[in-house]
Amino acid sequence: MSFLQINNVWKSYGQAQILERLNLSIDQGEFISMVGASGCGKSTLLKMILGSEVATKGEISLEGKPLVAEPDAERGIVFQKYSVFPHMTVLQNVMVADEFTKSFLLGRCFGSARKQVKQKAESFIDAVGLTPAINKYPHQLSGGMQQRLAIAQALMKAPKILLLDEPFGALDPGIRADMHVLIRDIWKKNNLTIFMVTHDIKEGFELGSRVWVFDKVRHDPQAPMAYGAQVTYDLKLDTDKTPDIAALTQKIAVN
């Protein structure tokens, strides 16, 4: 039994068929990069794994059980933007992750419970390198620091799956390289299963242990919306060897 199983999943919005015939199985600890043309449905698949969208047909199961049909603490997410809380400091943003589940009524911890949550939050803030900014608000942070914060929040819940939707798309190249180091490190240390959507093929190959390329196989020129995209390439990369990115990119581009 695989960790996550995608069984004949189809997704449409009204008349528009977005995705079709997805049959994929994922083992625990894989790092899957999702690449493909803009608007082909990568985020849509991510949202279905997250539970904020439901498949029109087919089923996704996690450890043999159908996925819970709404977001929960098993699946963490980092969006390209807006995934931190603007009214909380860095520390509060991370602490709230545990306060949500420790205090059902107020969503706040006090006394020794608070101390405990604070300590845990500080260790995750340290892990993403945000300790110097611990009392700052998100609007005082750079884009890269905000993404680090979003990652720290997600890690607090020790999710089974971490979903990243173009997490580094808005960052400068130098900062992006730092973030690559960070996310790779977090992936290895936490035995996470990661799904990352990216529009940067090179980034996809660099980070992923497996790359999915999305594209439409069937086309009807009269009705461009009639068919959805599928995973046309499912490449398992040998993480010990650096893949020949140039060759692979070319291979994809040819199609």
Binding site: A73, G76, F79, P86, F104, L106, Y137, M156, K157
Partner: protein
């Protein structure tokens, strides 16, 4: 020479330019009043500053012989009580319904159209209904303020809640938050500064409804007094009353602004750095 649109006045000039219009208006009034009174000493339209100050003294600092009360302060207390009560209840209703409507699609489907239609009913048109149902005392006046301002605040709060990026709400759920905790820890703190802003904007309407209600049926109140003394063309009372209402309105607006800055510094810094 810079373009006109790029010239920023210095601190000194800014203060100076703020004061000038007021001085000009007072000077204009003074000369116009002088001119009219020179022609006819019994003219009532533009009383002199001496007449106005003696009216203030009479209303605010002289005991009423019959009742032993100070009319001006009694009027102020009555009006402030009504408007503060009305606007507070409006804000509370606006916050709660707006929050629920904005966050819960199920409730929104049922309530949102109703609120939209309710906000289009002209409140003054149903004032007679309020007087009939709630009688002529306090309740009807407070109700008019609530009916006049609450629907707008509800609609504003609803749209503010819906403008919170969906990503944040989803993120909170992936951190294990229930609907309740998303409401009180994610949504509520973010729309509180917006609520204060909405209340500030509806203060003008609240004063309008208050004075209208007082003009029609009351025994005391700033609006009541103005409309009462109108019968004697007592401009020397009306003018300071209007100025006082303006001062009160300004003070309320200013304190709401300060309150927002003190309670939600993150919001104001964020807005300033945009």
């Amino acid at each position: 020479m810079k373009r006109l649109m790029n010239i920023e006045p210095s601190r000194f000039w800014r203060t100076f330019l703020t004061i000038v219009p007021f001085i000009v208006i007072i000077a204009l009034y003074w000369s116009a009043s002088d001119a009219r009174l020179a022609e006819n000493p019994n003219d009532k339209l533009l009383p002199s500053f001496t007449q106005i100050s003696s009216a203030i003294d009479r209303m605010a600092f002289t005991e009423n012989k019959r009742t032993g009360e100070y009319l001006f302060w009694q009027d102020s207390a009555a009006s402030l009580y009504r408007i503060l009560l009305g606007i507070t209840i409006s804000a509370a209703i606006g916050l709660i319904i707006g929050l629920i409507n904005g966050l819960l699609p199920g409730v929104r489907a049922g309530l949102s159209p109703l609120v939209t239609i309710a906000s289009l009913v002209p409140p003054m048109a149903i004032l007679p209904i309020l007087f009939i149902t709630f009688g002529l005392d306090e309740l009807a006046k407070v109700m008019l303020i609530i009916i006049g301002t609450a629907p707008v605040i509800i609609r504003d709060m609803q749209s503010q809640v819906m403008q919170i990026p969906k990503e944040q709400l989803i993120k909170a759920q992936t951190l294990g938050a229930s609907t309740w905790l998303v409401t009180i820890r994610v949504v509520l703190p973010q729309i509180m500064p917006k609520l204060l802003a909405a209340v500030r904007l509806s203060l003008g309407a609240a004063w309008l409804f208050l004075i209208a209600a007082e003009a029609i049926a009351a025994q005391e109140g700033l609006g009541y007094r103005i409309f009462l003394v109108r019968r004697y063309m007592a401009m020397d009372v009306i003018l300071p009353y209007v100025a006082w209402i303006t001062v009160l309105a300004f003070a309320m607006d200013f304190s709401l602004k300060k309150m927002s800055q003190v309670c939600f510094p993150w919001y104001h810094h964020q807005e300033a750095s945009k």
